[in-house]
Protein backbone atom coordinates (compact mmCIF):
# COMPACT_ATOMS: atom_id res chain seq x y z
CA UNK A 1 0.00 0.00 0.00
CA UNK A 2 1.41 3.39 -0.99
CA UNK A 3 0.90 6.30 1.40
CA UNK A 4 1.62 9.71 -0.04
CA UNK A 5 2.58 12.04 2.77
CA UNK A 6 4.65 15.14 3.50
CA UNK A 7 7.42 15.59 6.04
CA UNK A 8 6.23 19.12 6.75
CA UNK A 9 2.86 17.73 7.89
CA UNK A 10 4.49 16.10 10.93
CA UNK A 11 3.87 19.39 12.73
CA UNK A 12 0.11 18.92 12.32
CA UNK A 13 0.16 15.18 12.97
CA UNK A 14 2.02 15.62 16.28
CA UNK A 15 1.49 19.25 17.34
CA UNK A 16 3.01 18.86 20.81
CA UNK A 17 6.49 18.56 19.37
CA UNK A 18 8.74 20.58 17.05
CA UNK A 19 9.53 18.98 13.71
CA UNK A 20 11.37 21.59 11.65
CA UNK A 21 14.88 20.24 12.24
CA UNK A 22 13.77 16.60 12.27
CA UNK A 23 12.09 16.96 8.87
CA UNK A 24 15.12 18.69 7.38
CA UNK A 25 17.49 16.09 8.83
CA UNK A 26 15.38 13.37 7.20
CA UNK A 27 15.81 15.03 3.82
CA UNK A 28 19.60 15.15 4.30
CA UNK A 29 19.99 11.43 5.00
CA UNK A 30 17.68 10.37 2.16
CA UNK A 31 19.43 12.71 -0.28
CA UNK A 32 22.80 11.41 0.95
CA UNK A 33 21.60 7.93 -0.15
CA UNK A 34 21.12 9.33 -3.66
CA UNK A 35 17.33 9.33 -3.41
CA UNK A 36 15.14 12.02 -4.89
CA UNK A 37 11.81 13.37 -3.65
CA UNK A 38 9.24 12.00 -3.33
CA UNK A 39 11.35 9.61 -1.26
CA UNK A 40 10.06 6.03 -1.13
CA UNK A 41 10.36 4.40 2.29
CA UNK A 42 9.03 0.85 2.88
CA UNK A 43 7.71 0.43 6.41
CA UNK A 44 6.30 -2.70 8.04
CA UNK A 45 3.48 -1.81 10.44
CA UNK A 46 2.59 -4.54 12.92
CA UNK A 47 -0.31 -4.81 15.36
CA UNK A 48 -0.91 -1.08 15.58
CA UNK A 49 -4.08 -0.29 17.55
CA UNK A 50 -6.94 0.95 15.33
CA UNK A 51 -4.95 -0.15 12.27
CA UNK A 52 -3.55 -3.66 12.44
CA UNK A 53 -0.70 -4.82 10.25
CA UNK A 54 0.42 -3.93 6.73
CA UNK A 55 3.49 -3.47 4.59
CA UNK A 56 3.28 0.12 3.41
CA UNK A 57 5.46 2.31 1.28
CA UNK A 58 5.67 5.91 2.45
CA UNK A 59 6.10 8.36 -0.43
CA UNK A 60 7.65 11.32 1.30
CA UNK A 61 7.11 14.76 -0.15
CA UNK A 62 9.71 17.34 0.89
CA UNK A 63 7.85 20.48 -0.16
CA UNK A 64 8.01 23.27 2.40
CA UNK A 65 11.51 22.37 3.59
CA UNK A 66 13.89 25.01 2.23
CA UNK A 67 17.21 23.91 0.74
CA UNK A 68 19.01 26.36 3.05
CA UNK A 69 17.63 24.62 6.12
CA UNK A 70 18.65 21.23 4.74
CA UNK A 71 22.18 22.52 4.11
CA UNK A 72 22.38 23.96 7.64
CA UNK A 73 21.26 20.66 9.17
CA UNK A 74 23.89 18.82 7.16
CA UNK A 75 26.56 21.17 8.56
CA UNK A 76 25.44 21.17 12.19
CA UNK A 77 24.57 17.52 12.91
CA UNK A 78 26.80 14.54 12.22
CA UNK A 79 25.41 11.67 10.15
CA UNK A 80 24.63 9.38 13.09
CA UNK A 81 22.52 12.11 14.72
CA UNK A 82 20.71 12.90 11.47
CA UNK A 83 19.87 9.20 11.09
CA UNK A 84 18.41 9.22 14.62
CA UNK A 85 16.30 12.24 13.70
CA UNK A 86 15.15 10.63 10.45
CA UNK A 87 14.03 7.57 12.43
CA UNK A 88 11.87 9.82 14.61
CA UNK A 89 10.26 11.32 11.50
CA UNK A 90 9.50 7.88 10.07
CA UNK A 91 8.05 6.77 13.41
CA UNK A 92 5.87 9.88 13.51
CA UNK A 93 4.57 9.30 9.99
CA UNK A 94 4.00 5.59 10.63
CA UNK A 95 2.08 6.25 13.83
CA UNK A 96 -0.14 8.83 12.17
CA UNK A 97 -0.94 6.79 9.08
CA UNK A 98 -1.16 3.56 11.08
CA UNK A 99 -4.15 4.44 13.23
CA UNK A 100 -3.88 8.22 13.72
CA UNK A 101 -1.71 7.90 16.81
CA UNK A 102 -0.09 11.01 18.25
CA UNK A 103 3.26 11.50 19.95
CA UNK A 104 2.29 13.60 22.96
CA UNK A 105 5.49 14.11 24.95
CA UNK A 106 9.15 13.34 25.39
CA UNK A 107 9.50 10.38 27.76
CA UNK A 108 10.96 10.96 31.20
CA UNK A 109 14.64 10.19 31.59
CA UNK A 110 15.12 6.69 32.97
CA UNK A 111 11.93 5.32 31.44
CA UNK A 112 13.94 3.50 28.80
CA UNK A 113 11.87 5.05 26.03
CA UNK A 114 12.09 8.17 23.89
CA UNK A 115 8.51 9.42 23.60
CA UNK A 116 4.97 8.95 24.86
CA UNK A 117 2.09 8.15 22.49
CA UNK A 118 -1.60 9.08 22.80
CA UNK A 119 -3.47 9.78 26.02
CA UNK A 120 -2.67 6.23 27.07
CA UNK A 121 0.98 7.43 27.30
CA UNK A 122 2.34 4.28 25.74
CA UNK A 123 6.12 4.31 25.46
CA UNK A 124 7.72 4.76 22.04
CA UNK A 125 11.32 3.76 21.44
CA UNK A 126 12.95 4.83 18.17
CA UNK A 127 16.27 3.80 16.68
CA UNK A 128 17.98 4.57 13.40
CA UNK A 129 20.79 2.57 11.84
CA UNK A 130 22.97 3.36 8.84
CA UNK A 131 23.35 -0.33 7.87
CA UNK A 132 20.57 -2.77 7.05
CA UNK A 133 22.46 -5.61 8.75
CA UNK A 134 22.19 -3.80 12.11
CA UNK A 135 18.41 -3.53 12.08
CA UNK A 136 17.57 -6.95 13.51
CA UNK A 137 19.96 -6.68 16.45
CA UNK A 138 18.69 -3.19 17.31
CA UNK A 139 15.11 -4.46 17.09
CA UNK A 140 15.70 -7.43 19.40
CA UNK A 141 17.71 -5.44 21.93
CA UNK A 142 15.14 -2.67 22.26
CA UNK A 143 12.16 -4.99 22.28
CA UNK A 144 13.67 -6.88 25.20
CA UNK A 145 14.56 -3.72 27.10
CA UNK A 146 11.11 -2.18 26.71
CA UNK A 147 9.38 -5.46 27.56
CA UNK A 148 11.28 -5.44 30.86
CA UNK A 149 10.31 -1.87 31.69
CA UNK A 150 7.03 -0.93 30.05
CA UNK A 151 3.71 -1.78 31.61
CA UNK A 152 0.64 -1.52 29.41
CA UNK A 153 2.20 -1.81 25.98
CA UNK A 154 4.79 0.03 23.94
CA UNK A 155 5.65 1.03 20.40
CA UNK A 156 8.98 0.24 18.80
CA UNK A 157 10.27 1.74 15.55
CA UNK A 158 13.63 0.83 14.04
CA UNK A 159 14.71 2.06 10.60
CA UNK A 160 17.79 1.54 8.48
CA UNK A 161 18.92 4.10 5.95
CA UNK A 162 20.98 1.80 3.73
CA UNK A 163 18.08 0.36 1.72
CA UNK A 164 16.14 2.26 3.28
CA UNK A 165 13.37 0.46 5.21
CA UNK A 166 11.88 0.19 8.67
CA UNK A 167 9.57 -1.52 11.13
CA UNK A 168 7.00 -0.07 13.50
CA UNK A 169 5.13 -2.34 15.90
CA UNK A 170 2.98 -2.19 18.99
CA UNK A 171 3.60 -4.74 21.74
CA UNK A 172 0.67 -5.18 24.12
Amino acid sequence: MDIVTALVDLAEMHPELEWEEIAAATVTVLEDRGLEAPFEFPLALTDLPRFGSAEVRLCLNREGIPAGRVARLRRTYDLARRIELAAIAIAGLGLYHGGRHEITDVAARGSGADYLVDDATHFLEVAGRSRRSDLEAAWQQRQQRLADRAAGGFYLCVVELETPSGRLAFFA
Binding site: E16, L17, E18, E21, R81, D105, A108, R109, G110
Partner: protein, 116 residues
Protein backbone atom coordinates in the same frame (compact mmCIF):
# COMPACT_ATOMS: atom_id res chain seq x y z
CA UNK B 1 -8.75 21.37 38.53
CA UNK B 2 -10.61 24.36 37.10
CA UNK B 3 -11.07 24.45 33.34
CA UNK B 4 -8.79 27.50 33.04
CA UNK B 5 -6.06 25.72 34.99
CA UNK B 6 -6.43 22.68 32.77
CA UNK B 7 -5.97 24.78 29.63
CA UNK B 8 -2.95 26.48 31.18
CA UNK B 9 -1.57 23.08 32.15
CA UNK B 10 -1.89 21.83 28.57
CA UNK B 11 -0.12 24.90 27.27
CA UNK B 12 2.66 24.55 29.83
CA UNK B 13 3.04 20.86 29.01
CA UNK B 14 3.39 21.63 25.31
CA UNK B 15 6.00 24.34 25.93
CA UNK B 16 7.86 22.04 28.31
CA UNK B 17 7.92 19.20 25.77
CA UNK B 18 9.30 21.53 23.13
CA UNK B 19 11.93 22.92 25.51
CA UNK B 20 13.12 19.39 26.31
CA UNK B 21 13.19 18.61 22.61
CA UNK B 22 15.11 21.80 21.79
CA UNK B 23 17.59 20.97 24.55
CA UNK B 24 18.11 17.46 23.22
CA UNK B 25 18.60 18.74 19.68
CA UNK B 26 21.16 21.27 20.93
CA UNK B 27 22.89 18.48 22.85
CA UNK B 28 22.94 16.37 19.67
CA UNK B 29 24.72 19.09 17.73
CA UNK B 30 27.19 19.68 20.58
CA UNK B 31 25.90 23.12 21.57
CA UNK B 32 26.21 22.89 25.37
CA UNK B 33 25.22 26.48 26.27
CA UNK B 34 22.05 26.24 24.16
CA UNK B 35 21.23 22.80 25.59
CA UNK B 36 21.65 24.08 29.16
CA UNK B 37 19.40 27.06 28.46
CA UNK B 38 16.54 24.86 27.27
CA UNK B 39 17.04 22.11 29.87
CA UNK B 40 16.82 24.71 32.65
CA UNK B 41 13.70 26.25 31.12
CA UNK B 42 12.16 22.76 30.95
CA UNK B 43 13.19 22.03 34.55
CA UNK B 44 11.37 25.07 35.89
CA UNK B 45 8.30 24.34 33.77
CA UNK B 46 8.27 20.77 35.11
CA UNK B 47 8.26 22.12 38.67
CA UNK B 48 5.21 24.26 37.86
CA UNK B 49 3.51 21.27 36.22
CA UNK B 50 4.35 19.06 39.23
CA UNK B 51 2.75 21.60 41.54
CA UNK B 52 -0.36 21.79 39.35
CA UNK B 53 -0.63 17.99 39.24
CA UNK B 54 -0.26 17.80 43.03
CA UNK B 55 -3.05 20.32 43.51
CA UNK B 56 -5.19 18.30 41.11
CA UNK B 57 -4.46 15.12 43.10
CA UNK B 58 -2.61 13.38 40.28
CA UNK B 59 0.34 12.03 42.24
CA UNK B 60 1.66 9.86 39.41
CA UNK B 61 2.00 12.78 36.98
CA UNK B 62 3.40 14.95 39.76
CA UNK B 63 6.12 12.39 40.45
CA UNK B 64 6.92 12.09 36.74
CA UNK B 65 7.27 15.87 36.45
CA UNK B 66 9.46 16.07 39.56
CA UNK B 67 11.77 13.35 38.22
CA UNK B 68 11.90 15.05 34.84
CA UNK B 69 12.66 18.41 36.51
CA UNK B 70 15.58 16.91 38.43
CA UNK B 71 16.88 15.23 35.29
CA UNK B 72 16.65 18.50 33.35
CA UNK B 73 18.48 20.39 36.12
CA UNK B 74 21.26 17.79 35.92
CA UNK B 75 21.56 17.97 32.15
CA UNK B 76 21.31 21.76 32.33
CA UNK B 77 24.47 21.92 34.45
CA UNK B 78 22.86 22.21 37.90
CA UNK B 79 23.67 18.82 39.46
CA UNK B 80 23.43 20.13 43.04
CA UNK B 81 19.85 21.28 42.42
CA UNK B 82 19.09 17.92 40.79
CA UNK B 83 20.58 15.98 43.73
CA UNK B 84 18.54 17.99 46.24
CA UNK B 85 15.35 17.29 44.33
CA UNK B 86 16.16 13.59 43.97
CA UNK B 87 16.91 13.38 47.73
CA UNK B 88 13.58 14.97 48.57
CA UNK B 89 11.77 12.57 46.24
CA UNK B 90 13.50 9.53 47.75
CA UNK B 91 12.44 10.67 51.23
CA UNK B 92 8.86 11.51 50.34
CA UNK B 93 8.34 8.58 47.96
CA UNK B 94 10.46 5.71 49.35
CA UNK B 95 8.76 3.23 47.01
CA UNK B 96 10.43 5.06 44.09
CA UNK B 97 13.87 5.28 45.69
CA UNK B 98 15.35 2.36 43.74
CA UNK B 99 14.18 3.80 40.41
CA UNK B 100 15.56 7.22 41.32
CA UNK B 101 18.93 5.78 42.35
CA UNK B 102 19.12 3.96 39.02
CA UNK B 103 18.33 7.18 37.18
CA UNK B 104 21.06 8.99 39.11
CA UNK B 105 23.53 6.30 38.08
CA UNK B 106 22.49 6.73 34.45
CA UNK B 107 22.85 10.50 34.61
CA UNK B 108 26.27 10.21 36.27
CA UNK B 109 27.38 7.76 33.58
CA UNK B 110 25.88 9.45 30.52
CA UNK B 111 26.36 13.08 31.52
CA UNK B 112 29.39 13.14 33.82
CA UNK B 113 30.64 16.54 32.66
CA UNK B 114 27.49 18.22 33.89
CA UNK B 115 27.98 16.68 37.32
CA UNK B 116 31.46 18.06 37.95
Amino acid sequence: MAEGSHRLNNLLATVKSREVQRAMLAEMRGDRPEAALHFLAAAHLELVLASDYEHAGDTELALRSHISAASCFWRGGRPEQAQALFQTLMQTQPAEAAQIRKLLEELSRDHPAQAS
